[in-house]
């Protein structure tokens, strides 16, 4: 079952604009991660934010986490055509081992 729900399901913007994707989850988490996937291939890890962190930056990426609302957002600033991809949030749980539970993703299209 999918714990995370991404919003919106699809987003189309122009190059140079900012893109914001949101993720909601249901259970307590240890951390939340964002991944990018190009054309149905492997996932590329973008950023990890721990449950005791509220905001994190990495280059043009900014992630926020609100554990009281069980939600996170990913902001991509000054988007480029190369940012076109599917973006997934994933929550990590420790049940004997570690497992990621993914949402269904946001398809981002950046038009040149």
């Amino acid at each position: 079952s999918q714990q995370g729900e991404e919003d919106p399901q699809a987003l189309s913007i122009q190059e140079g604009e900012n893109a914001t994707m949101n993720c909601s989850y249901k259970t307590s988490i240890n951390n939340l991660q964002w991944y990018r996937q190009n054309s149905g291939r492997g996932l590329v890890h973008l950023i990890l934010i721990r449950s005791n962190e509220r905001e994190k930056h990495s280059g043009r990426l900014r992630v926020t986490l609100d554990t009281s609302k069980k939600s996170s957002s990913l902001l991509i600033t000054a988007s480029r055509a190369a940012d076109t991809a599917s973006y997934f949030c994933a929550t990590e749980e420790y049940i004997r081992g570690s497992r990621l539970t993914f949402g269904e993703g946001t398809q981002l299209t950046v038009n040149p």
Binding site: S1, L43, R50, F88, S98, F102, E104
Partner: protein, 117 residues
């Protein structure tokens, strides 16, 4: 350094057949996880292995099995294939996969695209 590698890249099978997918983790990583991604959906957790032991299993039938070898590579086996098994199978490796051992980012391979006819 090489990332996570998976083989084969693509595979076509017919219903009822069996398939074996392979994964080599990043050097130094001892944990391997398998995920199934059906078209249009997010990946779903199948298994995690650490030091050759199963550490977690998702909600998949017993037709799915896996193992990890002493060199930490892993195989995923699926028996009695169904049309619904058609998916991208992703392997991910991490250092340990255990709580309290720091940040365990999972690094994914390119996946194996399985088509069941």
């Amino acid at each position: 350094d090489a990332g996570v590698t998976q083989s084969p890249t693509h595979l076509i099978k017919t219903r009822g057949q069996q398939v074996t997918l392979r994964c080599s983790p990043i050097s130094g990583h001892k944990s391997v996880s398998w995920y199934q991604q059906v078209l249009g959906q997010g990946p779903q957790f199948i298994f995690q292995y650490y030091e050759k032991e199963e550490r977690g299993r998702g909600n998949f039938p017993d037709r799915f099995s896996a193992r990890q070898f002493p060199n930490y590579s892993s195989e995923l086996n699926v028996n009695a294939l169904l049309l619904g098994d058609s998916a991208l199978y992703l392997c991910a490796s991490s250092l340990s996969g255990f709580r309290g051992r720091g940040t365990d980012t999972q690094y994914f391979g390119p996946g194996t695209r399985l088509t069941v006819l």
